[in-house]
Symmetry: C2
Subunit: 186 residues, 2 copies
Amino acid sequence: MLEDAAAELFVENTYALTTIEQIAQRAGVSRNTFFNYFAAKSDLLWVELDAAIDRLAVELPKAPDELPVLAAVREATLRVVRDIGVDRVPLALTQDDVMGTREETRNSGLARLARRSDVIADFLARRLGRRTDDLLVLSASNALSGAISAAWAVWARDGIGRRPLVDYMSQSFAIVSSGLESALVE
Amino acid sequence: MLEDAAAELFVENTYALTTIEQIAQRAGVSRNTFFNYFAAKSDLLWVELDAAIDRLAVELPKAPDELPVLAAVREATLRVVRDIGVDRVPLALTQDDVMGTREETRNSGLARLARRSDVIADFLARRLGRRTDDLLVLSASNALSGAISAAWAVWARDGIGRRPLVDYMSQSFAIVSSGLESALVE
DNA sequence: GGCTATTCTTGGACTCAGCCCAGTATTACA
DNA sequence: TGTAATACTGGGCTGAGTCCAAGAATAGCC
């Protein structure tokens, strides 16, 4: 299994110092085969998160029209995240500091933020009858995706003993839903 | 000038098909010299935006303590953005579709979103007396940076005849400030 | 069983970004 | 004018990502 091999090597040698060659070799497969399963080395870090975003894209359109848009996004997000246990942390998040790869992992993680934003924007645009590249739609989807990312990040950083991810997530939603004006009181 | 050479080549051959070698050559300089001025090829796309973020980092701490945090961020952002005319568009944003490089430019652009978020998070953390990796701080800074990015993106997309960037920016701020709940009405 | 089509895997070769280093030119400054 | 700092250069290297064409395995069908 490529993922397992990679996880081992990342811990042993850090992400940056692990080559695709090595990962493939440990998995008993050729370098080219690696690219049959992952388009990029960094994809290995975000398997969990990518799956969560895929699920979000599936869950979102299921929302009943009676449910307000924002509530629909929140419910879908929380539903996706609810059954993510302590064990199912994205590789990148668990070992971020261990691996000394903050810079490289961050960039690939941001691509996920963007994809999630796209998914949300599609939904918002449809529900609001606006274009996908409308300022309201884009601002809202970017803000939401950013807040969701923050929840993931803080949850992962809290390590052992943390509360379930869904707690962090609903807190993040509250912050952007009610408005930063009221959330940011000194 | 490396920037000018790059701008020409990107239009001629697209960003992806332009090599650093070519850019350096057209600028009458060696490949290695390129790296004395830019750490990465994609940095060329974001010179304007990088400068704006630098200025934001300078402007933010100047805010008087009496000004509420969020207002401080808004004022600093608007001040930085106010004197960005129609001509001073980041390369990536102007020629995104011309160059057919949405994927590649997006990733490097996201790094700017992250850096801006860091700058804002530092300020928020200081003002709120919280840690930089606090959930409230991170959610807010990510959301704000996302909204700011949206403003840039829509402004750039609107092309000739658009209103000043600062208009888009204050609209984006309004959306996240008052809360998505009230902003996203169907 | 055998035959075929499709999918999986592989080796090999290639481009290019990014990094490092050591030597040389250029400029600045005394 | 001499010296020190800075800018530029050539050369060489690693590793990600891409492409292609050939080989292995597998599933389906008769």
